[in-house]
């Protein structure tokens, strides 16, 4: 596992400047550590010599005063570096997370309505919100320590080498032992800790399962009994967790043992060589102060190891989404839909997760409205649930590519010069789509329906009556001015559909094709009549209405009915 994913630096611009900043601050803090050690040694050493048995007990204050000033400067410098790392590091980390989140979300949308496993909206939502949040501790806490290890550790070892080569050698021999022992313990215990972690998770989920089942248990009047079981499960969960921790903490203990023992050995070595005059007091003191600093970043890296594995896992998941190939971009312009024709040529789509083709080998020619009053058409898509009607809608919108066959748009009813819909650009400017659950907002109902256009109130009210939006408005606290969508009043699916219908009626007058997916599913008799009236109005205006229909009343209105059927795939 690499501690820093290079793709992160390539993909997120904010990450690059963050790493540069952190490296600069790391270099500064390495310099300050060394300066501090020298200042302490030079301020302390002469005093110890002067007041020792051989000394005269007197010392010119001018010898130590400059070093005290330097030490004060080091204190200020370290405070400043610590402040800057926290102050700007956190900000940069927020930017990196935001940058990556937007890319992941945008890419997931580009993947189309049937993304591969791991990029479904629910998966990506978890990744983009909770998962990428794990990146922040990684960036704020782990990465700086890692860079410090790379900068401070070699720098201090080099300085110690200049002061006392024996101590430097001891440190240089110990340093590689640390990762080696951690690796050794890691490999020796990997299997057992994973098995135990699985046990811990299973026990934890059993407790949650019981709590989640409480309403059921209470309905049966059996809610008291499992209390003892929750307690017992908690106890075995604790035992299993402790067994895991006994192993997991070992690597931390080895790291700590090696580093502190090394500091102790350096201290004793320096002391014994001082007795024989093998080293001067001032360098000895500097080595003593520097020795723990050699290992400090490494110990902190170990302490933040969890942040690193969580952050790297989130990064890996984000790049797994970003690496999924998007459908090829459109390479030609869509023909005009007015007076044209949609052609389904032996179209088959494998239903996700089922051994079913839905639709299966569907062929149809759907002439489109002429745009003249009276020249409109209503096309119903009919079939039992699961037959692939909504899939067909996605195909007709060019959002989905059929597994077999082609979906074409021809500029004339003759069907010539047809283009495949998933390859053209400009088709979406000709279509208004009202899905089963239309996206609404954010904004006031007025803004959502007019989509920013200047629409006179009488027109708006007429449209509201046509689409049944008037009853929805009556139930909203501020009528047209009610905020809906994000942070606004929640709308039911039926209410959303009416808002979307009104929006389509007003805002999409320039779009010759209207696609409705089950517009009446959640409506009562009156609501359905309103929708049918709307469909009729569109047809009278010369537009084409493609409607997924479950109910007889819609079918009765249709000029053309396309029957959609699923077929089970026989394993060959």
């Amino acid at each position: 596992m690499r501690p820093l994913d290079p793709r992160l630096l390539r993909q997120a611009r904010a990450a690059r400047s963050y790493v540069v900043l952190t490296a600069l601050l790391g270099a500064a803090s390495a310099a300050l550590v060394v300066v501090q050690a020298f200042a302490i040694a030079h301020a302390l050493g002469p005093v110890v010599v002067a007041t020792g048995p051989g000394g005269d007990g007197a010392l010119d204050p001018a010898r130590t005063a400059p070093w005290l000033v330097v030490l004060a400067g080091a204190a200020a410098g370290r405070a400043a570096v610590g402040w800057a790392q926290e102050r700007y590091g956190r900000r940069a980390a927020t930017h990196v997370v935001a940058d990556l989140r937007e890319q992941v979300v945008a890419h997931a949308v580009e993947l189309g309505p049937r993304p591969p496993a791991g990029a479904r909206p629910a998966d990506v939502a978890t990744l983009a919100t909770r998962g990428l949040a794990d990146l922040e501790p990684y960036l704020v806490r782990f990465l700086p320590q890692l860079l410090l290890t790379a900068l401070v550790t070699p720098a201090t070892v080099l300085v110690v080498l200049g002061l006392d080569w024996v101590s430097a050698l001891i440190a240089a021999v110990t340093l590689p032992l640390v990762p080696f022992f951690m690796w050794l313990i890691g490999t020796m215990t990997a299997g057992t800790s994973e098995r135990r972690l699985a046990t811990v998770e299973r026990l934890g989920s059993q407790v949650l399962d019981l709590v989640a089942g409480l309403p059921t248990l209470r309905a049966f009047g059996r809610e008291i009994g499992p209390g003892a079981r929750v307690r017992a499960l908690g106890e075995s969960s604790r035992r299993a967790t402790m067994a895991t921790l006994r192993v997991a903490f070992l690597s931390g203990a080895v790291l700590e043992l090696l580093t502190t023992l090394c500091v102790a050995i350096i201290a004793v070595g320096v002391g014994l060589r001082l007795v024989h005059g093998g080293i001067e007091l001032v360098p000895a003191l500097a080595v003593l102060v520097l020795a723990p600093e050699i290992f400090l970043p490494l110990r902190r890296v170990g302490a933040e190891f969890h942040a690193s594995s969580d952050g790297l896992a989130a990064t890996a998941r984000a790049f797994a989404v970003l690496d999924m190939p998007v459908p090829p971009p459109a390479d030609r312009a869509a023909p005009g839909a007015v007076g044209g024709m949609l052609v389904l040529d032996d179209v088959t789509v494998r239903a996700p997760g089922r051994n079913v083709d839905a639709p299966a080998h569907l062929s149809a020619r759907i002439p489109l409205g002429t745009g003249e009053p009276g020249g409109g058409r209503v096309v119903a898509l009919r079939g039992p649930s699961g037959a692939g009607k909504s899939t067909l809608v996605l195909l007709l919108l060019g959002l989905l590519r059929p597994d077999e066959g082609r979906v074409l748009l021809a500029p004339s009813a003759a069907g010539e010069d047809a283009q495949e819909l998933d390859r053209v650009s400009g088709w979406w400017e000709q279509v208004a789509w009202v899905p089963q659950r239309p996206a609404i907002g954010p904004g006031t109902v007025h803004d959502v329906v007019t989509d920013g256009r200047d629409v006179p109130l009488p027109t708006l009210e007429a449209v509201a009556r046509t689409t049944g939006l008037d009853t929805v408005l009556a139930s909203l606290p501020d009528g047209w001015r009610t905020r809906v969508g994000l942070g606004g009043t929640g709308l039911s699916v039926g209410q959303r559909q009416r808002v979307a219908l009104a929006r389509t009626l007003i805002g999409a007058t320039d779009r010759p094709v209207v696609v409705l997916d089950e517009p009446t599913a959640h409506l009562d008799a009156r609501g359905e009549q309103v929708v049918l009236d709307t469909v009729r109005a569109w047809r009278d205006a010369g537009r084409t209405v493609v409607v997924v229909a479950h109910r007889g009343s819609v079918l009765a209105l249709a000029d053309q009915v396309v029957d959609v059927d699923a077929r089970e795939v026989v394993a060959s």
Binding site: V47, D209, L214, G227, W428
Partner: protein, 575 residues
């Protein structure tokens, strides 16, 4: 208001002797760290005076021992403190479960999945307070005072300097860190919520936004929300930066202070050279004592918030709660007779809002009554009231029914244990009979381990239809004679749903149980003895409660009620 953590603490059943052990081990760890620095300082200073090597032998052994002991004690301390925390979490989970089960929390809260989903992480957060806040704070106090004493014995003024610097890193810096994290969480909460909502919108409605040409606009919206979140984080980072700066500078400051005080004292002869080295160099190791405290302060605040949420779960503040458990003794009732007289049903008890009013119903053994009406009209509320899980807002309920929820829980255990939820002494033969009665005989035969097959999370998957049938089988094994079944058709295809209703009716008639079922699908209701159509007159813009619009057999209603006829007609599968 008292501290929610303190209120919740008894539920953790913490044994203070264990805490003391962890604190002692933590203190020993720091004694080793500080001892190492002090002994090394003395050793180097003394050695520079070139004494006989034997003089140094105690110090060299001490340095090595401290160097070894530290890792050893740290390992034991981490195990001890995690043990305390895990015991606390296990006890808290069990106690929470018992409190909730005994009726501390209401049925409304329990039906909200998000609340339950949070219980797990909230319990962890409360438990973490032991490892991350309580024990480090106690260790910091003991070890910090110890090192102040050590330095103070040699030079009292230097001890005071060290104390002042420790207070900076141990009190001021954690306080600032906690304040910073509070401000980020508080001020960033709205922005964070908006980022999450916009992310979700883009992901769920992304295809519509693409077709509608709104994708770029929504991406810009997400960017703007991220910018607001970054601004809130930035405000917190300003304070957190000061906290980090104090932490980084305090150590050097302490050394400087000790030098400024120690050097004149040494030159005046009040302090030996070796003592001066100890006074000046010990502070370099002391600040490890407070290193964990800023994080501890943040954890303390987070744990307190988690504790507050758990307490709310235990005692809902708004009073929208079920009757106290005493009001509903578990007495299944031996007759299949249920009588509702002028019952009003709604949330919030007699003072709350009534959703359905004026329902009279007499369900006789062996009969099937159906509640029909649009989604959201209040069928479930009425069933919950009839089951005694909600107090009626008006009228009386006589008899005890078993509420069979549409989303009843299938536990992650064996088929048999799932059935034993109904009654502890269900034997295998009874279980097989009940499964056969609901048409799951073939399903049972197909299971790898029969009744011992583990279902649910981590076990065999159960399809929607099988799940509903399993829930009905479980209800049949309960001692209750009245079954109140909510939306048996939900999430099932028409044929499966209708068959399930048929099964229920057959069982009721052959066993003398009675069944009340709520269904928004009308087609299968021909099998019911009576259908109650719930609804509102007109469009209900006033928010008045629903009531019984019409009642009679399915055939009566088809004949007499146009809306009912229309709705039933729409259910016919398209040709």
């Amino acid at each position: 208001m008292t501290d929610p953590l303190r209120q919740l603490l008894p539920l953790l059943e913490i044994r203070w002797s264990r805490v003391a052990r962890a604190v002692a081990l933590g203190t020993l760890t720091l004694v080793c760290a500080i001892g190492l620095a002090a002994a090394a300082a003395w050793l180097v200073a003394r050695a520079s005076q070139m004494p006989p090597v034997l003089v140094l032998s105690v110090a060299t052994v001490g340095v090595r021992a401290f160097g070894t002991g530290r890792a050893f004690f740290r390992y034991l301390e981490r195990l001890a403190s995690h043990d305390v925390a895990l015991r606390g979490m296990a006890a808290l989970r069990a106690n929470l479960y018992e409190r909730i089960a005994r009726g501390g929390a209401d049925v409304v809260a329990l039906r909200r999945g998000d609340l339950l989903a949070r219980v797990g992480s909230d319990v962890d957060d409360v438990g973490d307070v032991v490892v991350r806040a309580m024990i480090p704070a106690a260790v910091a106090v003991v070890a910090g005072l110890g090192s102040v004493l050590l330095v103070g014995v040699f030079l009292p003024a230097a001890g005071l300097v060290l104390l002042a610097c420790l207070l900076l890193t141990g009190v001021v810096s954690p306080w600032l860190a906690s304040r910073a994290s509070a401000s980020v969480e508080l001020r960033g909460a709205a922005a964070r919520g908006e980022v999450a909502a916009r992310t979700l919108e883009l992901l769920e409605d992304g295809q519509q936004l693409r077709v509608g040409g709104l994708l770029a606009d929504r991406r810009a919206g997400l960017r703007a929300a991220e910018a607001r979140l970054a601004a809130a984080t930035d405000d917190g980072a300003r304070v957190a930066g000061v906290s980090a700066g104090i932490e980084a500078g305090a150590q050097t400051l302490a050394v400087l202070g000790c030098l400024l005080l120690g050097v004149p004292a040494a030159l005046a002869g009040d302090l030996a050279a070796t003592e001066l080295a100890v006074v000046v160099l010990t502070p370099l190791a002391v600040f490890e004592v407070t290193a964990a405290l800023p994080a501890a302060a943040v954890q303390l605040r987070r744990s307190r918030a988690a504790a507050r949420r758990l307490l709310e779960l235990l005692s809902p503040a708004d009073g929208a709660s079920a009757p106290a458990p005493e009001a509903r003794p578990v007495r299944p009732g031996t007759s299949g007779h249920l009588v509702l007289t002028g019952v009003g049903a709604g949330w919030g008890g007699p003072a709350g809002a009534t959703v359905v009013s004026g329902v009279d119903l007499d369900v006789r053994p062996g009969s099937v009554v159906a509640l029909a009406g649009a989604s959201g009209v209040g069928k479930t509320t009425l069933l919950l009231t009839a089951a005694g899980l909600l107090a009626p807002t008006a009228g009386e309920v006589d008899g005890h029914g078993l509420f069979v929820a549409e989303d009843g829980h299938v536990f992650g255990t064996t088929v048999l244990e799932n059935l034993r939820v109904a009654r502890a002494d269900v034997d295998e033969a009874e279980a097989c009979d009940a499964l056969a009665a609901v048409g799951l005989g073939d399903w049972l035969d197909g299971l790898p381990d029969g009744l011992a097959t583990v279902l649910g999370t981590g076990g065999s998957d159960v399809s929607g239809g099988e799940r509903r049938r399993l829930l009905v089988a479980r209800a049949l094994l309960a001692p209750h004679r009245v079954l109140l079944v909510d939306e048996p058709a939900e999430h099932l295809d028409a044929r499966t749903a209708d068959a399930l209703v048929e099964t229920l009716a057959t069982i009721a008639r052959t066993t003398g149980r009675s069944v009340v079922l709520a269904s928004h699908r009308l087609a299968p209701l021909g099998t019911a003895d009576e259908v109650l159509l719930l609804g509102h007159h007109g469009t209900n813009e006033t928010g008045a409660p629903a009531h019984v619009l019409a009642r009679g057999t399915h055939a009566d209603l088809l004949r007499d009620v146009p809306d009912y006829r229309w709705a039933a007609g729409q259910e016919l599968a398209p040709a």
